[in-house]
């Protein structure tokens, strides 16, 4: 069962890369996310699965589709047709390398101690507090960046800045 979920994940990821229509790519990515979330549920990682489903399969797909809708009317980018030949070769080489090397490579990773206790919220709030601060910072920075990029008179302000810079020089 787990193997089928992983195969579905890789298959829909490939479809997202190779699909010519951007909308189909975004939706394939969402389906791949759903497969990943189901794999997480199978490994008892419930919180990670819920986050993957709600945020990655939901929010990021909505962001992608919004961006595609806002830029859709313009000209499409012609991807080269060589991908249909090159990608299977690349994927085959990668898979063969993966099968040959991965087991030996993973054997070299030293074992870490595994002693954890308590509930998920205790671990998240007590042990990983610094990560939470970082997350708040990342979200704040993202919001500021989006606001800065979508300023109503962004172009005008940019031109003013450029002309000011020219004057200073």
């Amino acid at each position: 069962m787990h193997l089928f979920l992983l195969i579905g994940l890789v298959a829909f990821s490939i479809m997202a890369v190779l699909s010519r229509d951007l909308l189909k790519s975004a939706i394939s990515l969402a389906v791949a996310s759903i497969f990943l979330a189901l794999a997480f549920f199978g490994m008892n990682a419930v919180y990670a699965g819920v986050f993957e489903l709600s945020v990655v399969a939901g929010l990021i797909t909505v962001l992608f589709i919004t961006a595609i809708a806002l830029t859709r009317s313009d000209s499409e980018v012609a991807e080269s047709k060589r991908h249909l030949i090159v990608f299977p070769l690349f994927f085959l080489a990668l898979a063969v390398l993966d099968i040959l090397v991965m087991r030996k490579l993973l054997g070299q990773i030293p074992a870490i101690q595994s002693a954890e206790s308590g509930t998920f919220s205790q671990v998240l709030w007590n042990q990983r507090t610094f990560d939470l601060v970082g997350q708040v910072g990342a979200i704040f920075a993202g919001v500021l960046a989006v606001l800065a990029l979508f300023r109503p008179d962004g172009e005008k302000a940019h031109q003013d800045n450029v002309s000011e810079g020219g004057r200073h020089e």
């Binding site: 990821s13 951007l22 986050f51 991807e79 991908h83 920075a141």
Partner: protein, 102 residues
């Protein structure tokens, strides 16, 4: 060091490989972001699989949540950047972004 972990890690390598291929060869900026997203999927799968194999699932899940939150911030910023570039160049082609080229 069980077999499920090795299987998961094999698929992690495949996902990261697909994402890198997308980043290296595609010309559409939205496709490049999709490549970043596929790599992020591989990373989250690696974290959860390792946590499951070593009985450290709680720490692994909190790290996954951090990765996902950072990923959302990155994608939102990058898509906003793409839309604002698209307004200037009227294209999504990454080859047309040559204004800063020396």
């Amino acid at each position: 060091m069980n077999n499920l972990w090795i299987l998961n890690m094999g698929f992690v390598a495949l996902l990261i490989g697909i994402g890198l291929y997308c980043l290296l060869t595609m010309k559409n900026t939205v496709k490049l972001l999709i490549g970043v997203e596929i790599i992020a999927k591989g990373v989250t799968l690696a974290l959860v699989a390792s946590g499951y194999a070593r009985d450290n699932l709680l720490v692994a899940q909190s790290l996954v949540i951090t990765v996902i939150v950072v990923d959302v911030a990155v994608i939102a910023t990058a898509l906003a950047l793409i839309i604002s570039i698209n307004r200037h160049t009227k294209s999504l082609d990454v080859r047309k972004l040559t204004k800063l080229k020396g």
